[in-house]
Amino acid sequence: MKFGNTSIGQFIPGESVIHLLDPRCKMIGTFVLLTALFMAGAPWDFVPWVFLLAAMPRLSRISMRAILRSGRPVLFLVMFTMLLNVFWTPGNEIARLGPLRITEEGIVSAFCMGVRLYFLVVFAAILMMTTSPMAFSDGLERILSPLARLGLPVSEMAMMMTIALRFIPTLFEETDRILKAQMSRGADFESGSMIKRARSFIPVLVPLFVLVFARAENLAVAMESRCYVPGGHRSRMRPLVWEARDTKAMSCMVAFAVFSFLWGMCLPKIASICLDML
């Protein structure tokens, strides 16, 4: 049993162009890009996206391997979606497996679905890998701040998110430690029936909960002793500043989104015109 080594989608500190962007710029930009990606419906529509992905290691200083690996957790989902699409799309039948029909349209749509889903996750992961949890929740707080006027506790929610993100690795570490400690007292998590195995986790879960509550209490005391009041107006040590480079990056991302949209619209027409000319 091994926890804590999963670095998939985790922040990787760095000083690349993308790392230095304002989190708001990255988040809104990613949102725009992902929306555009959703509109890609034909295999050729993904060409610009492949180029964009290819540029990522240079822009983010994260290796291609790490970027591609970030899509791994959803690979199963991708496969599943693709299978469903292959068999369930009506259209031109090209093969038959018992009651299952494989259609031309099915293969095309499975391909698009799979690639789209994979790209979605990978681009979202690039955002997470280049944005520290702190910056992320800061950015989110600022983006959502108009909602605070409607009475939504935006800054408290951002604080909760920061704390939760901060403590995930700690929780993994603690779980690993407790697992080891109980194993050294002879606990066996790997053999026996399902029920026996589930029961064997009680000696892990109880100390973990105790620990989490103790930690939460300590943290609450520590925050209060430093005058944290929910809803109080907190100033920032490093206020988010929207700089020229953020505007440039934003423009680039919007331009790319528009381009990919137009590409998807026009490509079939251009292609048919070319074919006509031939």
């Binding site: 080891k180 606990a187 066996d188 000696p203």
Partner: protein
């Protein structure tokens, strides 16, 4: 009858930017019936080494053998051998889960199928060996004081009747009296033939009680020997984070002025030696 580590190396997070070599070619023998102390600065790899003794981690290179049997992690043999080598973790009281101290202490032996009267005698033995007040057996483990919790935690490991007992920082967070009680208890266990391996950054405790000391620095074993040898090694070659206790460094100063006192003797012996030296001078 011994635990043998041969050229054990271990790194955390291999293949990531956070790769961190915690142990680098450490060899070590723990004999039955001796008290070995492992000392080192924080982060020097003591806890990692302790987990190798208990087969919770398997070396990335090198071998671990217990009583002449080479062990691989994840095998049935590893789990069996874990019973021979009891490991008390740093802050062991954070592993409590049961409703009463008795249930907590029964956990380890019952994991190995000990039942009925045997189980009861395991618990009684562990309670008396650890010096835990038997009246506390019915108490809720979370309601105990720090010192009582530490004892209960040690009892919960002793209850599986290990032949080697490895303790990671057993004195952390205890006061002077608590430390004295604890080391007294460990001495008793050693007298009864158990091997005691104590991981600590408190050089004073290590030099005072143990038969042998191993000093780690950044994952390497830098010195190994009797407390006297280690004290004189450390006096000559300071290792980061391992300060000699005041008496030992005072004794070392005296020695350099020609007054011969053992480095690990206490204040009384030093006073005596000084007295003698004065008499000679007169």
């Amino acid at each position: 009858m011994s635990i043998k580590l041969d050229g054990v190396s271990y790194a955390y997070n291999v293949g990531t930017p956070a790769e961190n070599v915690a142990l680098d070619g450490v060899s070590l023998v723990v004999e039955r019936g001796e008290w070995l102390s492992i000392v080192g600065h924080t982060g020097s790899g003591k806890s990692t080494l302790a987990q190798h003794l208990n087969l919770l981690l398997s070396p990335q290179s090198g071998t671990v053998s217990v009583d002449g049997e080479l062990v691989q992690i994840g095998t049935k043999a590893a789990r069996g051998l874990r019973r021979k080598v009891g490991l008390v973790f740093q802050y062991p009281e954070s592993q409590f889960f049961a409703e009463t101290v008795r249930d907590e202490i029964e956990f380890a032996p019952s994991n190995w199928g000990v039942k009925g009267d045997d189980l009861k005698s395991c618990v009684d033995e562990a309670v008396s060996a650890s010096g835990l007040d038997p009246a506390l057996l019915a108490a809720n483990p979370f309601a105990l004081s720090g010192g009582q919790r530490r004892r209960a935690a040690i009892a919960s490991v002793l209850a599986m009747r290990p032949e080697y007992l490895v303790l990671d920082e057993p004195t952390a967070g205890l006061d002077a009296a608590g430390i004295r009680d604890l080391t007294g208890m460990l001495s008793d266990l050693r007298e009864r033939g158990m091997a005691v391996v104590q991981v600590t950054h408190d050089l004073g405790v290590a030099l005072e009680r143990s038969d042998r000391v191993l000093a780690l620095e950044r994952g390497r074993a830098v010195a190994e020997g009797t407390p006297e040898e280690i004290a004189s090694y450390l006096a000559e070659n300071p290792v980061k984070g391992l300060l000699l206790p005041p008496c030992a460094s005072f004794a070392h100063r005296l020695r350099s002025r020609g007054i011969n006192v053992p480095l690990t003797s206490g204040a009384a012996a030093i006073a005596e030696a000084v007295e003698k030296a004065r008499a000679v001078m007169r």
